[in-house]
């Protein structure tokens, strides 16, 4: 197991390095000139040359990459062109917000989705099944920003029940206001999650119910709930972990729409802003961070697989 994790971490490192290289070279090819972005459009030649030199743009590309990578290893991603701030400072203020929202939304969507999925699978063919499955299918295709805008119009603008924009920690505005601010973004973030967990749980449970070992479990005369939880659920969990991993990996990208619709100062808004302003150091840092989050999520998924399904670790053992 330990060997397996170390191997996976090494593989992750390779991915991160590759992504860093590719991002660096691709952003360099962007048509916009960072010097004008920093100094404005009306620069004298001397001023231009000065900034050009300051940014190190007169050095060869490869050398600039080495310098950037060395600094990045020390946590220095350079200064943002648009915010005129240290990039790391910028990002570190926003990570907790995005993380907080994403994790809350997972805490909501996993249990609810699995519960609905179990209900529909065990009551397959009944009215309850049809209704929940239909709703899940509809919800999983609704785009987040559309749900966000609808909620905003109804609860924020028409009914004026909830604040339509902003995000503050409970310390700043009090717990009640904090929860009010959270409701709409969380619904928006979790609806799709609940729907896809429901769908996945249903189909993987139905798949397992047909298996021979479930018939064996029934033939043993053990209680129905043991058959469901010990035999069906444990096997049905495996595909659910895949979805969980995907959602974790998609955390930063996924919060983009919601944060923009509700003007939440998280990673998603920062990403959109930095791309639209060609804020190259910020883009580079964010891409790297997103890659690392994805890699961590997949590592976590693989570890969970091994825990839930002994077959996986066994096959990797037997090859040794």
């Amino acid at each position: 197991m330990g060997k397996y994790i170390i191997k996976r971490i090494l593989q992750m490192l390779v991915v991160v390095i590759l992504v860093a290289v590719v991002t660096f070279f691709l952003t360099d090819m962007l048509p916009s000139d960072p010097v004008y972005l920093i100094g404005g459009d009306e620069l004298t030649t001397e001023e231009y040359d000065y900034i050009y030199h300051q940014l190190g743009l007169d050095k060869p590309l490869a050398e600039r990459f080495v310098i950037w990578a060395r600094n990045a290893l020390h946590g220095d991603f350079g200064r943002s062109y648009t915010y005129h701030k240290d990039v790391w400072e910028l990002i570190s203020a926003r990570i907790p917000v995005t993380l907080y929202l994403s994790i809350l939304s997972l805490i909501i969507s996993v249990p609810l989705g699995v519960l609905f999925g179990m209900i529909t699978a065990l009551k397959r063919g009944t009215k309850t099944d049809s209704i929940i499955t239909l709703l899940a299918n509809v919800c999983s295709c609704l785009p987040q920003f559309w749900i966000g805008i609808c909620l905003l119009v109804v609860f924020g603008l028409k009914l004026r029940l909830l604040p339509s924009v902003g995000f503050h920690w409970p310390g700043e505005v009090g717990i009640v206001q904090h929860i009010k601010e959270l409701i709409m973004p969380l619904i928006c973030l979790s609806l799709g999650g609940v729907a896809s967990f429901t769908r996945q749980t249903r189909s993987s449970m139905l798949e397992v119910i047909r298996q021979d070992f479930v018939r064996t479990a029934h033939s043993k005369g053990i209680k129905e709930r043991f058959v469901t939880f010990r035999h069906i659920m444990r096997n049905g969990l495996i595909p659910i972990i895949t979805i969980l991993g995907n959602r974790l990996a998609y955390m930063i990208g996924g919060s983009m729409f919601v944060e923009n619709v509700f003007s939440i100062p998280g990673m998603g808004t920062l990403m959109v802003k930095s791309v639209s302003c060609s804020d190259i150091p910020t883009i580079q840092a964010l891409v790297l961070l997103t890659t690392m989050v994805s890699c961590m999520a997949y590592l976590l998924t693989d570890i969970l697989y091994v825990i839930v399904d002994p077959r996986i670790s066994l096959t990797s053992d037997s090859k040794k």
């Binding site: 298996q211 043993k220 035999h231 096997n235």
Partner: protein, 676 residues
Amino acid sequence: MSLLLDINNIETCFRTEDRVLKILDGVTIQVKKGEIVGLVGESGSGKSVTMMSSIQLLSNSGKVTSGRVELDENGKNILEYKKNSDDMRKIRGGRIGMIFQEPMTSLNPVMPIGRQIQETIMEHIGLNKEEAKARAIEMMKLVNIPDAEERYDNYAQQFSGGMRQRIMIAMVLAAEPDVLIADEATTALDVTTQAQLLEMIKELSVKTGVAVVLVTHNLGIVARYADRIYVMYSGNVVETADTLTIFKDPQHPYTRGLLNAIPRLTDPEDRVLTPIDGLPPTPLARPTYCPFYERCNYCVPDCAEKPKPQLAEIGQGHFVACHLGRAEKDEKAKEIALKEGRSRPEKHISDEICLNVENVKKSFDIYKGLMQRKVGSFNAIEDISFNVRRGETLGIVGESGCGKTTLARCILRMYKPDGGKIELFGKDIASLGRSEMKPFRSQMSMVFQDPFSSLNPRMTAGDIVGQPLRIQKMTSSRAEYEKRVDELFRTVGMDPNQKDRYPHEFSGGQRQRLGIARALALKPNLLILDEPISALDVSIQAQVINLLEELQSSMGLAYLFIAHDLAVVKHISDRILVMYLGRVMEIADSSELYENPLHPYTKALLSSVPLVDPEKEIGREYIPMKGEVPSVMNRPKGCPFSDRCDHATEKCRSTIPELKDAGNGHMVSCFLYYER
């Protein structure tokens, strides 16, 4: 003895999308304390459904619509209990346990096997966790699982098929049931493992007094192990009696048909198999009269007028569902014998060697890791030598994993052997390249095991049969091609008008005929038949065997007949080659091999095969084999069989015996017969 399980006239229906299928049409089965009951019939006859109905284990679409199931003659119909009620659960699993066919999928893959046994004990015996664990380990020892304590926490996939089936038995018997239902429990296993398991079940039945219901299509198994037999056909029991009576005095035409259709180890050489023509009716098309009427060669027109015959007692405990009396049937039997009077097609074995194989060897590399580095290799087959003459059938038998199929693929040159000679009419093809090989391709072809997956489902039957002709450009015009395809259809006894149908529209037997027609398309001299009938029902098997024999006689084909069913191999082969772990153990004429087997492995293998004759089974010696077939990757250094052989000496363990003539062309590779 007192009645234990009484299944009385049950009818079971399955709901599909648009209709209701009546699978069981009134089945009555009784099981007494401690006896072994055999339930035989072909696939789809309702054997498993009967047993699953009795313990309410049907899927949600199945329902018992009428009839009673009683335990202990207490007058309580257990079908009245709700499926998952406490009362029903106490019976299902507690009093009646069931083991299933697929040992690979019947155990939960993510729960340690010990826990699965423990679970049953805690449910039905009411022990606490620790006690149940101790008891589970005891049960594992009872079914001879080595290192039970250590293996308690292992998962199902760490065990072989035979071991998994032992675990299933331990799990079921742990609840101390009164009835054990074994639903084709040994069908997927090799003969030696099958014999080990059934012997064990029999012993346990004697030791613990548990009654056993053996559900199987294998008449040999019931002949050897059952006390009483029920024969099922199309959702009905057609005949029941004690085992001796069923085999000595079968009264239902279907029972007689089955017994005439199967080859036996004890058959004389000129025995002709009589297949049962046609197919059983589907549940939808089941007539109101006798369901066997259409396939019955005893029937009189009157049979179609009368309603379905009911079981009637004609002797002590001997019930038959047939309108005809004994005298009528005996009369008819004489008539049939006269009319049939068939003899086996003549053999024309010439001296010309069609295929000569010398010291053929094939190894496979083992790759590992991200870069797929080669980390080792193992020899799948080693030093294989034999020959086949024109018009001759050489049977190749051996358990799964012994290299039969690898050998076939080497001969067909789908694999390139690593050494040795493969001579086709004197020309060595072992190392020919792809294009050099092409002219030889038409001289040999193969018929595959699975008639369902070996035909392309998107091609019409005509295209499938004609494909080799197109590839080898054997016909010059469209008309000639069509004519040849029609001819091939007729050769295998099929109607050329069915050319435009797709494989799924044919039955298993017809599909296998198509496979044979395809193999014959290029007029080959050598046909390699890789388990060609093992996926077919007994009555259909005989049709295909007879067809193969006729084709051989008329076309002078040489056959390489690969199979694990020894009785079939004995029936069809002139000579037999016995393989074990990639090496040849013995080659001999088929009657010589069965009458006078020399190699200890052959002896054990033969004694594992149940004879379809309970009288001959009495007092027959069963040679139990130690352990299980090891993987070819850890083949013993000397004789491959040395670690399981009772006669093994130091020499056997260190040196590989050569294949030598022990007289009369009986080749054996065993030190017992030379250098002693």
